[in-house]
Amino acid sequence: MQVTQGCEHECSWHDSVPTDATPTSERGTGVLVGIDVQSIDEVAASMREFGSRYVHRIYTDVEVEQCGDDPMTSARGLAARFAAKEAVMKILDVRDDVPAWKDIAVRRTASGRPEVILQGVAAQLARRQGLGHVSLSLSHTDSVAAAAVVAQVSGRSERLAS
């Protein structure tokens, strides 16, 4: 998919399928889709206003590094990553436990594809839901970055303690 001027990558996946999960039919099988958009100008404005506090509160060191030093390029990349974090949030069954921003990260592989890295609470939620591969696609125009994720629900999820 290419929106207009820039399709940063196509797709990739992060294998987070748990191997020790207790089977349950709570969510069944199928796919979940999350999508989000983010204004690049808003990210650039936040970078100007709050500087590294904004950047390092939301994005991992790898995300910051891979978005480069150029302000415009960096804002575009970070906006795409913010949209990716939000898109992933939409497929996680978030209740009392809320992932930190850095629990959901985007990493570009050596081949240039972006992949979703889940840590902490986000990884726990994914395991509980039986989420398998999470495929990610990022895109952008001059003003807006977009992210879409598709996750397989394996039908094997950890049973929540009651």
């Binding site: 983010q38 204004s39 808003e42 990210v43 936040s46 206003e49 709050f50 506090r53 904004y54 509160r57 939301i58 913010f82 939000e86 809320v98 930190a100 921003w101």
Partner: protein
């Protein structure tokens, strides 16, 4: 209206990117229904930290914390804002 609530509304006005004036909001108005986005809530959080000299821990960085002016004020109270030193 408390000074804290006034300051919260001023910060929402400056950083919330709401389509309506934050100064006219009621304490319990749903900020997300009023147009607050997740990204704008980050800016609001950082501005609150600057204004009140506090740090929001990850545990407070949930949607409910920024649901309304009163919810934000409650979160600030848990961080010691407006609490007289013993």
């Amino acid at each position: 209206m408390s000074d804290v609530e006034n300051t919260v509304k001023e910060i929402l006005e400056a950083h919330g990117r709401l389509p309506v004036s934050a100064l006219t909001l009621k304490s319990d108005d749903d900020l997300y229904q009023k147009g607050l986005t997740s990204h704008a809530s980050v800016n609001v959080m950082l501005a609150l930290e600057d204004s009140f000299d506090v740090v929001f821990p990850d545990a407070l960085l949930r949607r409910g914390t920024f649901q309304s002016v009163s919810a934000i004020c409650e979160a600030l109270t848990t961080l010691g804002v407006g609490v007289d030193p013993v």
